[in-house]
Symmetry: D2
Subunit: 238 residues, 4 copies
């Protein structure tokens, strides 16, 4: 089996709300001024955008960020990471059906810790091969894909189209870019963050784990410690 | 008082997910095939788009419609219509603050039934004038806008930036384009529908009250009857 | 007009999830142990409950709090406060319809600042009387309640049945028990908090404005300052 | 391996909103009458409850059903069924963590079609044994549970605490009690329905697949046909 089985999470931005930062700025201005639609549609200059966006993010009044949404195509995440992903309920998901799509040729996630250990890696790949063979055998025997897939290991990779708005994304990054998140969803989250930074650089400038975005670490005794060093550099809150 | 007080709901589409129907079609294909991101990003031809979109809408499996979202600027709706609007929870709202924005010059909604009756209309306008004067007086006396606005009638108009995805919008239209909806929110919903038809014509082709979109009327004895005549033209369900 | 017009927000707990803290504790144990349903249904002792609930609230991993929900009957809030309330989307609302229910005898909210000023209070009450008279007149002339209510001032009081789960409630209290919230919804939130403390004392022990619950103030320059004094007493975070 | 591996979905009702049908009826009365909290708290007689609940369910105006929520303990569903389950976003989930809980002794789901075929069943059980052995081996080698579980087949069973309100539950039953749903989640949904019928018999009397609850089948050419025979018995809609 080739390198296709190795874990490579792929993330592409498929589409997003046109001019996302201008839209959010229009919504902010709607809340706090009496200007009408015509004026709201005129774009403000970059400096005003930056100032208004910084204000709402500092105050935590971020509902206006919901007006900008982002749609990703995700490939190469395991069932395990999928389960982490879909627990975020303020989001939309379209995921390849394991009931309808037969997976004669499937890719699998291999954890980095396994890749590092050549002997275990060989066993792991051999195991995946056996799993795939049993899955294929069940299909050949006439069992439905929905029953056959029960034997596929959780490392089996899925593909998904995922949409989240900017507020939900920032929350997603707070939880999933954190060192304490599962490595695979963290890789996915970091790649999503890179993508949205290209099209909404101000909104996502300080996005990331909560130690970055809020200057707070919620992990208590399990904290990775990054938070403490960041506080020194960033200035304490309050 | 001039014509500015008359009820004119204004709706403009501020922004939306780029290429909304292509995005939804990519999500549909994601669910039911094994193609990857690269191919998903290629646009399909109009005929395939139309066929796939028709399929999901006929079957009611419309979660893929959530990937396309639409942001409107709304002007000229009363507090009453606002309350109807914000009860739709799968949506994002940014609404002019009555606590922070002083409304020295406010517009008011006048119901069509009042406009038809010249004597009552005169009384109504005179009443609004007195209301506005008392509001202004309270501000001048030093009361906060958040307290002064308590005396404003519910016909006072607000402005809002509203975002909904295509699935939520179709549901919104089913309830609010219905003859039984309050006239003002119906006017707003119909104008929103016109706007989204321009940029997502297939998705919203049959959108509207549930008699149009689902061939079902839920209103029982209170039905306007349009449903029955449509069933003749559209063919019965089932 | 009598004391019925004065602002008295009334809050009663109508129902709630049976044994709310035991339910949440069962959910916490489900996440972190391999015990099954039978054992989960056995109640744990108060000390274990207290320890497990304290852990999840300190770490911010509060999704288990969603399993306990609380239903309130609310009376005596104005349309203005209603609009603040229903913007909380993770909640369920049943609110007296202004379209179907005619309000021949309506109560109104009077802001405390107005009550303090006898001259203005007299004017305010006289104004409300005129408003009610015009509303009644429109009904008598045959206009629908949905049109007539356009003339009612925003101080008109509504009644509502409201359900929120414990996680959403704690967030609601963070925003609405804050000194910076509108006085009327703050009064309502404080009364709701008193009610739930009776039936879920551990979950809501430290609930309230975010300065209490999270030891964080998000209000920046607009902060009431309570936060700073509390930090001294509570110990700094991190 | 014993019978413990066979698919037996277990569902228990852990808790629910006290007096769920009386709470919903209070909410309905709140919407359409001017009575206050004191009277709302008085229970209405069974006949009035039945009539009001029937009205809102016939008209589709079911938001009042949200005030009653139900919490289940679920055992014996596979990862596959879990993924179906958690896609319902208007619900709360607490699910045994595969990152923190080591599963030395795990149960697995076996599809009924496999159980019927003795030769395949033997192979399937043997396969599960090998899977479990490799999982255990990885743990012994010092790999984290979050990496080792990648090799577990999707038939591995999980345990969950799940809360949904009555409106969301009715929708869940419409989709998941349907003959076209995956067999395992259908079994789970049917057992959940039995449980809630005991404590809210009027609300869930006609709950089930949409052919039962709405007299509509959405499955088009893929319909199981039950719908057609029910229409004869139930009378056509419209």
């Amino acid at each position: 089996m080739g390198r296709q089985e190795e874990s490579v999470v792929r993330v592409e931005l498929l589409s997003y709300t046109g001019d996302p930062e201008a839209v959010v700025v229009a919504a902010i201005r709607q809340c706090y001024s009496s200007i009408g639609a015509r004026e709201l549609k005129k774009k403000t200059d970059k400096e005003t955008q930056r100032r208004l966006l910084a204000q709402i993010m500092a105050s935590g009044h971020t509902s206006t960020l919901e007006h900008a949404s982002f749609t990703f195509v995700i490939e190469g995440i395991s069932r395990t990471a999928e389960i982490h992903l879909v627990r975020h309920r303020i989001a939309s998901y379209s995921i390849q059906s394991g009931r309808y799509v037969k997976r004669g040729k499937t890719k699998y996630t291999i954890p980095p810790e396994i890749i590092k250990n050549k002997i275990v890696l060989k066993k792991y790949k051999n195991y995946l091969k056996k799993c795939q063979e049993f899955y294929n055998e069940l299909l050949e025997l006439g069992f439905k894909a929905e029953d056959a897939r029960m034997v596929q290991p959780q490392s089996v990779q899925i593909k998904a189209v995922v949409t989240m708005n900017a507020r939900a994304l920032r929350h997603f990054f707070e939880l999933r870019c954190c060192q304490r998140a599962q490595w695979e969803i963290r890789e996915m989250a970091n790649k999503m963050l890179l993508e949205v930074k290209k099209v909404a650089p101000i909104i996502f400038e300080k996005a990331g784990a909560s130690c970055l975005s809020q200057k707070i670490c919620w992990e208590g005794d399990l904290s990775c410690g990054l938070y403490k060093s960041l506080r020194g550099r960033l200035g304490k809150r309050g």
